[in-house]
Each structure stands twice: as C-alpha cells, then as structure tokens.
Symmetry: C2
Subunit: 358 residues, 2 copies
C-alpha cells in the first residue's frame, strides 16, 4: 500500500491510498474554489446535557447530482471533480461542506441563553471514496480493495486522533437515498469529534458499571454469550463473529466483533483485517439479497475514545437498516424521536435465521 | 364535557369525549374481531442499559388505507370502523395493533442471552381521534374542539397513570407520511410505559444535577432565560411561552411551556387549557405556512413520571419536524443514528424569526 498526501485548491487535505506501491499521483487541483466555511458551532442542550452541532452553511451542499456531475468520480475530459486524478483506488479528503472544522471560529449570537454554553464547531469531517467505479457497491469490492479501505480507516483513525482536541474518531458508511444519502457514489465518511459522543459516552458508563459489579468486560461477555447461544449468530470466521444483538433496536441490525479485544481499527493486525473483509463482504451481499434490492444501511464503527485510560472500549461494527419489509421502512416515530424509546416489529432470532439462510 | 366508556368487540376499551353534555352514545360494536395480540416483550440492550420493545405482530398493521377504508372515521352505511358510532367529537381507544399490552405474556426465547433480561411488553397504547372529519388537521380544529382534546389527554394521563405498573404516560401526535404515519385521519397516540423512557430518565438526571449544583429548577431557569433573551421566542400568551430552544436539534423545533410549573397535563387549570389551545392552533398554522405545505411533525408532551417524588418534571410540549427545506428532509444520518450526535443545518434564531414573521 502506498499513501500520498496532497492539498486541494481550497487547502483541504486529500490522501490517496494505492494498492500499487509504485503509483505516482498527480497532485495539482486546478479549480478555483471558494474558501471552506468555518462557521460551525456547538451548543449544549441544557435539558439533556448533550452537545448539538450547527452547520448552517451545509444547507447548500450538493444534493443528488446526476451521475455525470458526480463530485466523487475521478476527474476526466476536462471535468474537475473533488479528486484531481484520472483514476484512484481509495481516496480520503476533507469534506467541502464540513459539519465540523479544525478552523471553526467562536460562535457569535446576539442573545445567547446563559444556560446553553457554546463553543466552536471544532473537529474534522472526511469523505472516503471506496472505489473509483461510480456504480459499485461496497459489497462488490475485491477483498484487496476492501482491505485497502480498512487500511485507510486505520490510517485516518490514527492521524485524526493525533489532532489536538480530537477525542473520538467515527468511521461509517451511509448507503441509500432512503436514509438521506446525497451522493450515490460508493463512499463513507469519517468524523473526528472534540468530545465523546452521547452513545459512546453511555456505552462507556454502562461498561464501567458492569466492570464494577462483575469484574468482567461487558462487550467480551456479550460476545461470549452470543457465541454460546448460537441462535443469533449470522456468520463466524477465524477472527470475527457477526450476530444480531438480542435487544436489536433496528429491523435489521448486525454487530460484528473481533474475537481479540482491541480498542480501535489501527489495533487490528494483518490477519484480522484480511479475515474481516471476507466476512464483511459476504454479510453485505446477504443484506442486499434480504429483499432482493439494495438495502439502505448505516455501517458504524464503534471505536474506543482517543484517550481510553480505563480501557472500556471494544471495537465493533454496528450495521443496521431501517427497512422493515420489502416495501416498508421503519421510521422513527413519536416514541423513538420523542422519548428515545425504541419499538421494533421484528424478533432478532428471526432476522438472524433469515440472514443465515440466504 | 361528557365522557362515556364502552368496549369494542374484542374487549378493547373505547372512551367518547363529547362537547354536548347530553350526548348519548351507541355502545355496541357488531364486528367479529380476532383477539388482540399479547406477544409484546421488552429486552434490555446491555450496551446502553435501555429497554427495547418488540412487537412482531405489528408488521401486519393497517398501512395507508384508501380514504373510504379509514378505520378512524365514524361507522356509516354498513361499514364498521374502529368507532361504532355515526359521529363523534373526540374518541380514544386501545390500539388494535398495540406495541405494549396490559395482558402481555412472559417472553419465550429458545436461547436467551443471559446479559439481556427480558420481560413482558406491559403497557398500553391508545389512539386519540381529534375529529370525525377525515380531512381536518389539528390546526383546523375550533378552540372548543382542541380544548376537548386537551381534556381527553388529561383524562387518559390520569386513568393510565393509575394502572398498576405504569410509570410514564406519553401523549403525542405524529403527522405526515414523510415520517411514517400509516393513517391520515387526524389522530394522535398515547403510550403508557412500564418504565421511565430514556429521554425522560436523562432529563430527570440532568435536572437533579442542576438542582444540586445551583439550587434552582432547570426548566424554570431555561424558560426564564429564553423569555429574557426574546430572540428565540415565537409566541407568548397569558399562561404559555413558545420558543425555539437555543440548542434545537431538529430543523424545526419549538418548545411550549406553561409559565406556572406543573408536572402533567391534568394539573393544568381551565384558564391554562383554554389559553394553550389558542397559542397552539396559531403555532400549528404557522408551521404549515413555513413551506406552504403540511409540515410533517411530531408533537410530544413531556410529562413528569407518574411517581415524581423529587418533583423534577416540568410539563412541556416539544413540537418538531424533520423538514429542513421546502423540498428536503433531515434524515438521521450516521452521526445521529450511530452516535446520537446531532448536527443541524439551521440556526435556532433564524427559525424563530421565520416563524414569528409568518
């Protein structure tokens, strides 16, 4: 794998990840681009004690462009995209419409609420192009190509985690216009947050209480119990287990754990990475056959915090979909959106069986 | 107001609320209905320590029927709907496809995960028909009719709160097929939960910490600060204030507080109820003019827990929408669904100004 860093016309960083160690990258972006907005801000929701990011410049972001105007395809025939190269394997670059920015400025509000602290929307948002093929799915990638994506996630997790002020790095893919994806080119995103996100913070608290009560590691014990129970396991490989969690909250939800407890993607060794992509590609293909159509999904890597002194994190992937039937989506209704109380229409054991039987 | 209790063919309770104190209700439901499912269950998500309800029988629930088959219209011309009467003002009844049931049975699973406790899906789900007019919006109701809805919410909150095992009552309206509403007839729902929901539990914890730190009441102080700041206030009346919260997480979000601190809807006096409907009807009409089309919204009443010994609750309405532009919806993307870290594209001060200026 060869890694090449370069800079886009407006100063954003772009990183090429090439399978071919001898690849040489064109590094000049000839476009005339406006400056990237630095207006993002955070405000603390005083009722829930949770930070909310506000990025009003994102209202004008690119929205479902026609294929021939895709900004994530390679540049060609005089059309300059976000990637100033005629081809690429995997590439990551800073989002042109970032929710968070390392250059975010202190918010200015005429009449703030003194109970609502504000701070700059510090952080970083990167785009990861999984393939130069506009019509590919992640599930279509070769094992080598998928492995290159894992290496890119690992690299970015390390690099972004070293930025002063970043406390968590989140690699994820959202796929499908049903869930609001605005670009159809196969890509994911990476968010570097200046705080531990609410879900992660909750997971750390719950794991800490569990350790105090039992002396054990929560994730390790949940994984062991699912391997013992078998009924919710979807797939297993030498180093990984994929199962539908016993209390799944989404109509399709699979958790994928490495058997060796590591905190972050960069901690995975070569064998674990190679083994992951085989299991993951198979899993993604099953998901698309569940309803014989591309399943809208979110694939979310839960990594430990950048600084994890208590060692409570356990790397795992949460892969989930809002599709509850071939022609129906699960919407977050009043009980979920208003109360965060989830109600699901399917049983985990049934979903696991269907995914195994495909 | 006259209240009449009756029973539907399958044993479900129905309650008529009539403006006319002399109303006489037909009480016989001639249908031959199958028994209501009691298969709901709760499972504890061990990673987040939150209960997830599972109601697999709901997969077959009525989904966007044509107008002439609406189950919430009055019965007529030999067609028997859920309401065995030729007309009604406001009516509430137990949901035929309930997520929670007072008769829920202990879950049976072949190979449970011992770290995932299970319990019956105890609780109650009611439907509230706001009007017999299939095409009405809540915003179209007369003040007297809307007041009758408030009285119905109050009545159901009291009655359901008295059921042994119910710890929280949630009255809400979801409107719009964009957010998955399966019936277009103007209606809301009421959930009686056997536990304090995650959002409410979090609000109580945060309010308790605030009281310990400052001696004050969090909601009272937030309301006072917004009334002082003015810029986010959308509307005020004698007894109520509606404002866009300074850290709003939805593209349109308005919180409506009574100025007198009460815990629950039944605690509101006559003057407060009458005053609420005037402000609320005006607010709903503004929402529909925001994009000159019916706004998909969720209107969620946050009431204190049934038993609120520490008196940390403060009744308020959270009215919010996922519409971020005339032609665009805000979807919960990777950061929200995966990390519960909200990012919004609009500033609260701008939303408040637009809602005031309509």
């Amino acid at each position: 794998m060869k890694k090449t860093n370069a800079t886009l016309a407006d100063g954003r960083e772009i990183v090429y990840f090439d399978l071919d160690d001898s690849a040489v990258r064109e590094l000049v972006d000839p476009r005339d681009l406006p400056a990237v907005s630095t207006a993002s801000q955070f405000r603390l929701d005083p009722l829930l004690d949770e930070w909310v990011a506000m990025a009003s410049h994102r209202q004008s972001r690119t929205f479902l462009p026609p294929d021939e105007e895709c900004p994530l395809c390679p540049s060609s025939d005089g059309r300059h995209t976000e990637i100033p190269a005629s081809d690429y394997d995997v590439v990551t670059f800073e989002n042109r419409f970032p929710s968070l920015s390392t250059a975010a400025e202190p918010p200015q509000v005429d009449a703030p609420n003194p109970l609502v602290p504000m701070r700059p929307g510090f952080g970083r948002c990167e785009v990861v192009c999984f393939s130069s093929d506009h019509n590919a799915r992640f599930a279509d990638l070769s094992a080598a190509q998928a492995r290159l994506v894992v290496d890119a996630w690992a690299d970015r997790t390390t690099e972004l985690g070293e930025l002063d002020g970043v406390e968590q790095v989140f690699c994820f893919e959202s796929r499908g216009k049903e869930i609001g994806v605005t670009l159809s080119h196969p890509h994911g995103q990476i968010y570097a947050y200046p705080y531990l996100t609410p879900r992660s913070s909750r997971m750390v608290d719950v794991a800490a209480r569990y350790r105090k009560r039992t002396g054990g590691d929560l994730h390790t014990d949940v994984l062991a119990a699912e391997r013992e129970a078998r009924v919710r396991v979807v797939a297993e490989s030498t180093h990984w287990t994929a199962f539908v969690p016993a209390a799944a909250r989404w109509p399709v939800e699979v958790h994928v754990y490495p058997r060796r407890r590591v905190r972050k993607i960069p901690d995975l060794d070569d064998a674990e990475r190679d083994d992951f992509v085989v299991l993951y590609l198979d899993l993604l293909q099953r998901l698309d056959r569940l309803y014989d159509s591309p399943l809208p999904y979110i694939s979310a890597w839960h990594q430990g915090p950048v600084v994890d002194t208590e060692e409570l994190g356990y790397l795992h992937l949460q892969l989930f979909s809002i599709r509850r039937a071939a022609d129906k989506l699960k919407f977050l209704a009043g009980t979920e959106s208003g109360m965060n109380a989830f109600i699901t229409d399917v049983l985990p054991e049934d979903v696991a069986r269907r995914l195994r039987d495909i």
